[in-house]
């Protein structure tokens, strides 16, 4: 790394990693209700 140039990759990876994991986890969690979509009985 050149002097004066800061490497921000740790922070970028942390932010994008966290967001990606959260989006996937929420989608997987709520996918359990896919069978309830359009259920007239509901």
């Amino acid at each position: 790394m050149e002097a004066g140039i800061v490497n921000y990759s740790f922070y970028i990876n942390a932010a994008y990693g966290l967001v990606t994991v959260t989006l996937i986890a929420l989608f997987v969690f709520y996918s359990r209700y896919r069978g309830d979509l359009g259920n007239d009985e509901a």
Binding site: Y8, Y11, I12, L18, Y30, G38
Partner: protein, 242 residues
Amino acid sequence: MHYFANPTRFSKFSKAVWPYITALAFILLGAGFYSALMVAPPDYQQGEAVRIMYVHVPSAWLAMGIYSLIGALSALYLIYRHPLAAIAAESAAPIGACFTALTLITGMIWGKPMWGTAWVWDARLTSVLILLFLYLGYIALLNSFNQEERGSRAAAILALIGFINIPVIKFSVEWWNTLHQPASINPFKGIHIDPAMFGPLLMMGAGFLFYFISIWLLAIAGKMAARKKMRLRQQQLWKLES
């Protein structure tokens, strides 16, 4: 709007639109992630760290937008007593809480290299932390009654009282001296962000919005089914008793 207030009609509508909304969400998110990480230029002051903006800002938009939605649905529920309004509001709350937490954590990750600190008790950060507590309080209150309807009413009142925090968050950077920068995108004052950065930000914003609608529809469907099951069980119990 009245047309979709019928649960059966809403259920059919959500089943029909869900695949398209979900596909659109993932296409926009894929394109958004690519353009935010690969296409958007680094900032002249922040360098590559500005890329955190493309996940932090859409999360914040959703955090505030979902709470505003809960506030509006709570008002509808309290006025018209329509159960679908309560179900829609209650289904959105855990998702909103997750996006508020994401806003705070990605903000801390961004703040550490840019400000030299992950947290300061300035008006913007503190008011967003209060928003997270409001979400958690809303969810806790909702689940603290034996009778579901009483929980819904109490939570709806809390949601309306807590709505005062939304303009406080929005204008906190103008009313007080904050470490957090003022808004770069203001419908009244113009867009102070380069199109090369605004494009990917809008794409991510749209992706986050459609993603939220997709999982919100699933959450509503799940809650409607759970309520129906509970009502059927109660009816069976009454029949057995009588």
